[in-house]
């Protein structure tokens, strides 16, 4: 007989867990006692939200399921933002929470919260385990559900008497079978043939690739599809990295802060092939005017995404990788679409992303300098807001899973803890968190975690003493009434130093490269405080509710 806590820890190991991000507390004491001499590595965060984000960052950088652990009540509730973030971006994590003993459930006991009830809308599935004998099966199912189909977070709530309760080892099936859960992996042959036919007969086709391409590890197939038929590719924020930034067919990001040429291409395309993307409002702008002339092929593993926001001509439900392989096998003609490519080239020449070179410290230059320095061989994590958009626009990504950002939920404070998680997934490359002075202060306490564990995350704070993106909207749409968006100056290097972390403050363009080099030379964490132009905006921009080819801050349409 074993305790539930021991079974839990052994089950995690059996699922291949190598690291847990967590925070102890009353009802998880039995689990923490098991971790004390377990080979599983545990990273003690400074706030449970960071544990969830770190598990998420680990999952996105590695493609494996990330694990976080918190106590009941406030501990569990603090995971909520992190779980919701993972849910919106389909990141596979398993969150384990302690719960008050079953005898006290529903009693408003000390540190009790109904975390399965709270997380029902933001998890793929969740469990309240009632018996130690169920733990091994539940853990196996949780990892299976989190890591297959459209991936996502699964929560396991473990009451204290369940982790102290005794149970025998129960034999587990080789393969999990759940009669209510059978994801479709293989695309429908006839639909795939229809899509191929549309590609072969299109004049202005465009691939619109999203995070599903990366989740499905289908970047190679995507690039092969694009090059085989000569179809240009635009990616969503989440799809960045699925095709190298400097690939001639890559038009960069589309949508609200996309490139002008990508948005023009969407608007004029006659065939849009949406792959692992979900027609989010930040991508489509005004939905009726999105790709108005295009037939739409939509490939996604989640049938609920197909036709949700936009009518689709050829729906293909399946795993992106499997579907693309089938498409590649069926493609006959190698099309050139010369006139189309020429038109896009013209847009690209006349509407490039702008960058200023006037001797002042502009964030875009910092991103480009970093990009030139690491040449794609780094994991770049961002916070949310201007820092995120500048990075998405100006950093040149070469590989999938090297760009990690909170897209769907837009969680400020995500980047720093997610970068910690990403490091454990990719210890072979440097990990940068591109932050704003607003976002970094949402989880700045994690300096304690990176310092204590010497986690070599390099934090680049683009400090404009504003909540920059909100300020930008106030400037453009609220008559420059900067209502509660100005932040007093903070000496971030001093904060870092207080935690025992090295750092550098940067005030001019010529200090940028030395600071970035110093961060790489440092074998531990490093904080860079870039004092950027305060009222720099992210352009081009599609105002909320406008069509995506109606961008402001771009170039006059030629």
């Amino acid at each position: 007989m074993k305790t539930g806590a021991k079974i839990l820890v052994e089950s995690l190991q059996r699922e291949g867990t190598e690291i847990i991000f967590g925070y102890p507390g009353g009802v998880v004491l039995p689990i923490y006692d098991e971790l004390y001499d377990s080979p599983l590595r545990h990273i003690l965060v400074r706030h449970e939200q960071a544990a969830a984000h770190a598990a998420d960052g680990y999952a996105r950088a590695s493609g494996r399921v990330g694990v976080c652990l918190a106590t009941s009540g406030p501990g569990a509730c603090n995971l909520v933002t992190g779980i919701a973030t993972a849910y919106m971006d389909s990141a596979p994590i398993v969150a384990i929470t302690g719960q008050v003993p079953t005898s006290l459930l529903g009693n408003d006991a000390f540190q009790e919260s109904d975390i399965t009830g709270i997380t029902m809308p933001i998890t793929k599935h969740n469990y309240l385990v009632k018996s130690a004998a169920d733990i091994s099966r539940v853990v196996q199912e949780a990892f299976y559900i989190a890591g297959t189909g459209r991936q996502g977070p699964v929560l396991i709530d473990v009451p204290k008497d369940v982790s102290t309760g005794l149970a025998k080892d129960t034999p587990l099936p080789e393969k999990v079978t759940l009669r209510g859960y059978n994801p479709t992996y293989k695309g429908h042959k006839r639909q795939i043939d229809k899509a191929i036919d549309l590609i072969e007969h299109a004049e202005r086709p465009l691939i619109y690739a999203g995070g599903g391409v990366i989740a499905s590890n289908a970047s190679e197939e995507l690039v092969r599809l694009a090059t085989t038929c000569g179809v240009p590719v635009t990616t969503t924020l989440m799809g960045i990295g699925c095709i190298p930034c400097d690939h001639p067919l890559n038009l960069g990001m589309l949508g609200m802060h996309g490139t002008e040429y990508a948005n023009f291409a969407v608007t004029e395309s006659d065939l849009l092939i949406a792959i692992g993307a979900r027609f989010d409002d930040r991508v489509t702008g005004k939905i009726d005017t999105f790709a108005p002339h295009a037939k739409i092929v939509h490939i996604d593993i989640d049938p609920a995404e197909i036709g949700k926001n936009k009518r689709v001509d050829v729906p293909i439900v399946g795993d992106v990788k499997a579907v693309l392989q089938d498409m590649l096998a069926g493609l006959k003609k190698n099309n050139a679409y010369e006139a189309w490519i020429k038109k896009i080239r013209h847009w690209r020449q006349h509407h490039p992303l702008r960058i200023k070179d006037d001797g002042r410290l502009h964030p875009q230059q910092i991103i480009r300098t970093l990009s030139d320095m690491v040449k794609g061989e780094a994991v770049i994590v961002s916070e949310v807001g201007q820092n995120q958009m500048w990075t998405a626009q100006h950093f040149c990504f070469h590989h999938p899973r090297t760009w990690i950002t909170s897209g769907g939920l837009g969680t400020m404070g995500y980047g720093f803890p997610a970068a910690m998680g990403a490091h454990f997934a990719r210890p072979d490359v440097p990990v940068f968190d591109i932050a704003g002075d607003g976002s970094i202060q949402m989880n700045i306490q994690e300096m304690g975690t990176v310092a204590a564990n010497r986690i070599p995350v390099k934090v680049a704070i683009l400090n404009n003493m504003y909540l920059g993106m909100v300020r930008q909207w106030q400037e453009l749409f609220f008559d420059r009434r900067y209502s509660y968006t100005e932040l007093p100056p903070v000496e971030f290097v001093k904060i870092a130093n207080a935690y025992g972390i090295d750092g550098m403050r940067v005030d001019s363009p010529d200090e940028v490269l030395p600071a970035l080099r110093a961060s790489l030379d440092c074998d531990g964490p490093f904080v860079m405080d870039f004092r950027i132009e305060r009222e720099e905006n992210v352009f081009p921009m599609v105002p909320a509710g406008a069509a995506i080819n109606e961008m402001i801050g771009g170039h006059p349409r030629s």
Partner: protein, 167 residues
Amino acid sequence: MKPHTLSILVENKPGVLSRVTGLFSRRGFNIESLAVGTCEEADMSRITIIVIGDDARVEQVMKQLHKLIDVIKVSDLTENERVERELALIKVNAEPGTSRAEIMQIAQIFRAQIVDVGSKSVILQVTGDTDKIDALEKLLRQYGVKELVRTGRIGILRGSKIVASLK
């Protein structure tokens, strides 16, 4: 916008009903009627939900329901030949004398049963489709309906077609 009758086969596990109903409220759907109970399989339950919405939105909600791990099968019975029934218990004022006799006559016409007789009221039990129960309720209003309970509609396909799991 029309009523859709959804038949949902689910795992008979704690919390399933709140997963299903939570999804409706989250996506902005009002549930017109809901009935749930065990079914032909011991470890499953069947939920019948009536929602009003346009076809595309109902289809979206069905797809979202299908994503719930504990949901085994979702079917829209609306376009099919089906039998739908509801049961209501109605407690009506019935002072001894004329009104009581009238109520019993009405009950007879509607093939409702008197299941309880008190000194001042009677309880009618009626089964049928929604219109029939509505009509009976309307007629009884004049005597004073003290309490009315409805089970919510349940539905089943006519003929040998079934809504079942794929096992």
